[in-house]
């Protein structure tokens, strides 16, 4: 199937890129094996899009290298072994969806059949409609079809579901799974932990332009998918709270204590039995950004930019 997929997959080494004062990507090392489905997970400004643009050859790295199946990004693109769905962009006007996909297919050495791609991407039902008369979800599916028709060894999707509702997301990922099942290497960027967990074999966690965690989805989910318990508990000692089962750390905010948990169920049971005075208890999933902050807190050196403000495009 993947005649051009020489061993090596996608290899990023010591990749860096800055825009003016913003260090969008600071030294990323990453090796993705052929056939893997990898999620680049991170908040806005983590460097996901910049990394993807460098893999696609759209952006030149300041230093470091990208190798796509043993080739440079430009060579890989020219050979037609890469298909990409960029974060932004609409469709060409004055064409129907079918015409557009046929046009793009003509650029590749070994494209998939247009009808097959329209079916796979869920674009068949509106294939003869002009590209300017599509809903947001239909546009995304047509853009997905445009990336698929290349029949690429490497498929790159930059936040492909950003414009979709829940149903649209589910349908999109079902299509993507069918494609990944054909042995393609898939890299997708997302800032939804659930998506990364459900559809990737492996999650690469990016924050502030660095890889802060990299591993199988289940492992990463345990790391960042934790919950926090907040309870009003005046004058309590933090040490026994931190020692409760399932609790990673305890902090105090005035009369409230905040327990960061790996297992919030166990922590809650422990808290209620050992500290009956605790009241106004809230359990909530910690946001991805908080998890990133926690993960990068020690590793961080001379950074004075909050990732949320470090928006790169």
């Amino acid at each position: 199937m993947n005649a051009n997929a020489s061993p090596g997959g996608v290899v990023l080494s010591r990749l860096t890129k800055s825009y003016a004062a913003v260090r969008a990507v600071r030294s990323i090392d990453l090796a993705i094996a052929p056939g893997e489905t990898v999620a680049l997970l991170g908040p806005n400004g983590a460097g996901k899009t910049t990394t993807i643009d460098m893999v696609l050859g759209l952006t030149r790295p300041d230093s470091g290298t990208v190798s796509v199946f043993g080739r440079s990004p430009a060579q890989a693109v020219a050979a037609g072994i890469v298909g990409g769905m960029l974060q932004t962009g609409s469709l060409l006007d004055y064409l129907s969806v079918r015409e557009l996909i046929t046009m793009i297919a003509s650029l590749y050495p070994r494209p998939l059949g247009v009808d097959e791609v329209l079916r796979l991407s869920g674009a068949a039902e509106f294939a003869d409609r002009r590209t300017t008369r599509l809903s947001g979800g239909q546009v995304q599916r047509a853009r997905f079809a445009a990336a698929l028709v290349a029949n690429p060894d490497l498929l790159i999707l930059d936040e492909p579901t950003a414009a979709l509702d829940v149903e649209g997301r589910r349908e999109f990922w079902a299509s993507m799974r069918a494609v990944a099942a054909q042995g393609k290497t898939v890299i997708f960027a997302t800032h939804y932990l659930e998506e990364a967990d459900a559809y990737a074999d492996r999650i690469v966690l990016l924050a502030r332009g660095q890889v802060v965690a990299d591993g199988p989805s289940t492992e990463i989910k345990a790391k960042v998918g934790g919950r926090t318990i907040r309870a009003t508990l005046p004058a309590a000692d933090l040490a026994p709270l931190a020692a409760l089962p399932g609790v990673i750390s305890a902090d105090r905010h005035g009369d409230a204590v905040i327990l960061t948990c790996a297992d919030s169920d166990a922590a809650l049971r422990g808290l209620l039995s050992r500290f009956p005075a605790a009241h106004d208890i809230e359990v909530r999933g910690s946001g991805l950004e908080e998890a990133f902050l926690a993960l990068t807190a020690d590793a961080d050196d001379n950074d004075n930019v909050h990732p949320a403000q470090q928006e790169v495009r």
Binding site: S90, L91, L100, M103, L107
Partner: protein, 245 residues
Amino acid sequence: MTRRRPAYTRYEVLRSFRNWRFGVLTLAFPLVLYLTVAGANGHVRFDGTPFRLYFMTAMATLGTIAAVVSGGAVIAADRAAGWTRQMRITPLKVGAYFRAKVFCGYLRALLTMVLLGLAGTALGVRLSAREWLTVVGLLLVGLVPFAVLGVMLGHLISSDAMAPSVGGIVTLFCLLGGVYGFQIAKSGPMFEVIKGLPSFWLAQAGKAVGGGGGWPAEAWIVLAAWTAALIPLAVLAYRRDTSRV
């Protein structure tokens, strides 16, 4: 692989002809102007050339300049749609992309020439096959700098500004080049400036076969100089545009 490329150009042509808005400037306007003005001045001579012949090539100049400039200027719309970025991650070469755009512009220019030729014939313009070919050939060559200008504009302007920019630039070149049938100056320094415009020489294509002066070496030099000057500017505009993304 090369065998497949014509399919890409075919769809670019399809898009180009479905975008009827540019047809107003490239077809309807010059055609209507020709039929009304030349129709009312059927037997007037203009600088030694029958007016209906001069004005036929002049209106062809207007329409064809608009066609090739807009051919490249539509790149602004592709850019706005994020499509130039999408194209850069396909095996399509930048050169092939530009060639397809210029080809579309020229095809529309040919359509303009054919319709104005028919209109001219209807009003009594009679040329030999050789003369027709000369006029068409001179126009095709004279349009080269405008095709480059279009590609440059496509990388400089926003898609909102596209139609007014094309309209304004075409009108300016045609007005100064004497395309509308009157010249701002016929001697002196202003005339020297006018003679330095490619649109002036395009409008002279009719005179080249109508016995009214015609197409000297100076014309070729002007066209070559504009082309040579515009190509690096277009490359610069393209680089500036793509380095940002």
